[in-house]
Symmetry: C2
Subunit: 405 residues, 2 copies
């Protein structure tokens, strides 16, 4: 048994080495997780353990490291792998128990984009909202549909989520009203974190995905379905999504997910040239959605119709530049069965089919005090497990209207 | 005649004092414009001329100043007004000719939101796209429709705009294609710059607009109509807008626009309580759109159905927090006549009615090499003119596809 094995939280062995930002009694910094410890990268750099990267000492965020690009990401990863597998003594001075650290948002979110790339999810939403006329939009198989979300309300796992207020019009014959959302939902997604930026007027090809994207996080793109239904025509979701988006505290490097590569679904009709992948693959990330502790769904990421490489190519196909810290999420991950959907809208079929949780209580949408936790794992080398960090959040109702002046 | 009068560029007298960021032979800094000069605020602060603000020295952006909030904004404005009206001698050491400076993006754009608040524009777009069935969406008179844009591609006036590529499907019976946009358009808008942020879960009331918003810029929200038509269902515009958004280099303080306050249009039906304004007003900003030098339109900002105070209240009505540097734009400003529209889509009625420019050439959408300049003025105290900075951009075609690896 190696020193870093953590029976209580498997998946954080040296195959993983996800990055995070933390605050502890000793100060703030950036780290990689190994077992049930954090390896303080700033301290390690100052001790000469990760050589001359210059990206960690006195940094409170991963931004500088993310900007370095793939050759440096790989060099640092190899160095840390050597360190942690070389025995505990050398790294002991720069370790701290993860229980003694508070994890923070790990990077500055530049722009946040949310896609809509699960065919099962898109069809389910269509069936729920337009029974008998369900179909994909004409553009859906030709491009990964997406939109910009609010970067300033991306929060780290563990942050409470204040139930949003907003306008809704549940009855088309009555006027709209303004109040707390009554159909508050989750969206279980996988997010991708851009490290290396790109220049304006330059499309990033599908083959360049791993040169620009550093790693992945889990995402809960909280959604107020009643607000969304009323606001979204014709410019898309806005306040229904902008109140909070939670991400896991750990950014798992793409290199840790390499062993989880699997073929991606076939695409028919064939996509246009700029979306073609010479080496098309998905990541076999298996998610689990817990509602107050009860596993209600196990969304399979490998079923997504559009891959993260295609999403990145599409995002830049008009010449929009990338910046370090750009975050783009896959869209709700839903597999083919009800036990694999990534939203409660689908799980409870638009609110018509409640689920029963482990405590015997019944739910359709989120109630105040509810906690949702999304976890995810991939298979690492030689059958090891690579864990994504959980993304968890609790619904609170502490609404404050700013006092009139 | 005062020392700061600039016959070639009226509107930059002491009634205005807009803020900017610059680079010159002497270095980078932030400044206010007065006449044909910039008053270097960093140098002024170091010389003790603007007292203890601490927001300017060694700053290259307005971010620190914006975050200070309204009492400090007003105190600094009063101090600078005293300085520039007190004679040239005192300020001469901290002046530089505007011609010797390169103006830069004046603040870090946090989140960018674009609204859709001109009734004339919304109806024109509906008439063009759905002839015979034109109407406003059911939500349009109940809330200011808006969506998030891409903050990372907001550029300063003067930056070239690379013609975007993208998918379009001009013929529904043929497959989509990928290529340069053939329907590249402008949107003349007014943008509002948030200085003071707000807390998550706190709605900012309409009456608190001037506590949070520092000032205004002109915006050209470049739009690729062919990309937009194909991509926008069901999540709204994405790549059709995300390639570039140009803003003027000067942020005009709201205090400089106080004399331009006029009644805003009546709203029927009455809006819900959180959008009611105890003191409802518009700003009488008169815009002009020049296409290769020819004035093709004069959009009147005072005709907007939703005011910037209502837009801010809506934006935060779900509890989304504001950050310093948040930018929100009004949406295309179109008045009731063809000579007052803020887009070429409307000016040339969907491409069916070309306009003739001053050189005798004909246009519907933008051609490579075309330059569009939007200017705007308001009336200041005692009949003076307050100029918004121009926002100008030229269309270039320097498309680069990243070489395959």
């Amino acid at each position: 048994v190696s020193w870093y094995q953590d029976a209580a939280a498997p998946g954080f062995g040296p195959e993983n080495l996800p990055y995070c930002a933390f605050t502890s009694a000793g100060g703030a910094g950036v780290a990689v997780r190994i077992g049930d410890h954090l390896l303080n990268l700033g301290a390690a750099e100052e001790a000469g353990l990760v050589a001359e990267a210059g990206a960690f000492a006195r940094e409170h965020l991963l931004d500088r490291f993310l900007a370095l690009g793939r050759p440096e990401w790989r060099r640092v990863r190899e160095r840390i792998t050597d360190l942690v597998t070389g025995g505990r003594d050398r790294v002991a001075p720069v370790l701290l128990p993860v229980a003694d650290a508070e994890l923070r948002l790990p990077f500055t979110v530049a722009d946040y984009v949310d896609f809509y790339s699960s065919e099962h999810h898109a069809m389910n939403m269509s069936r729920i909202l337009r029974p008998g006329q369900a179909s994909l939009q004409p553009n859906w198989r030709h491009l990964p549909v997406g939109y910009h979300g609010r970067a300033g309300t991306v929060v780290v796992s563990g942050a409470d989520v204040v139930r949003p207020w907003g306008q809704s019009r549940p009855d088309a014959d009555s006027p709209p009203r303004y109040g707390p959302s009554a159909r508050l939902d989750v969206e279980a997604e996988v997010g991708f974190v851009v490290g290396l930026g790109s220049r304006t007027g330059q499309a990033v090809g599908t083959g360049d995905f791993r040169d620009h994207v550093f790693g992945a996080v889990l995402v809960n793109d909280w959604s107020a379905r009643d607000l969304q239904a009323w606001e979204y025509q014709p410019l898309g979701p806005f306040l229904a999504k902008s109140f909070a988006t939670s991400i896991s505290a750990y950014v798992v490097p793409l290199d840790a997910l390499e062993p989880a590569r699997v073929p991606a679904p076939d695409q028919e009709p064939p996509v246009l040239g700029h979306l073609v992948e010479a080496d098309r693959y998905a990541y076999d990330l298996r998610l689990a959605v817990r509602w107050n502790g009860t596993v209600v769904s196990r969304p399979p990421f490998r079923t997504m119709y559009w891959t993260p490489a295609q999403q990145l190519a599409h995002l830049t196909s008009n010449g929009a530049r990338l910046r370090t810290g750009d975050l783009y999420a896959s869209g709700t991950v839903s597999g083919p069965t009800r036990a694999e959907v990534g939203s409660f809208m689908e799980l409870c079929w638009g609110g018509t089919e409640p689920v029963t949780l482990g405590d015997g209580s019944s739910r359709t949408f989120l109630e105040d005090g509810d906690t949702v936790t999304i976890s995810g794992t991939a298979t690492g080398p030689a059958g090891t497990v690579v864990a994504m960090g959980d993304v968890t959040g609790r619904i609170v109702s502490e609404w404050r209207s700013q006092s009139a002046k």
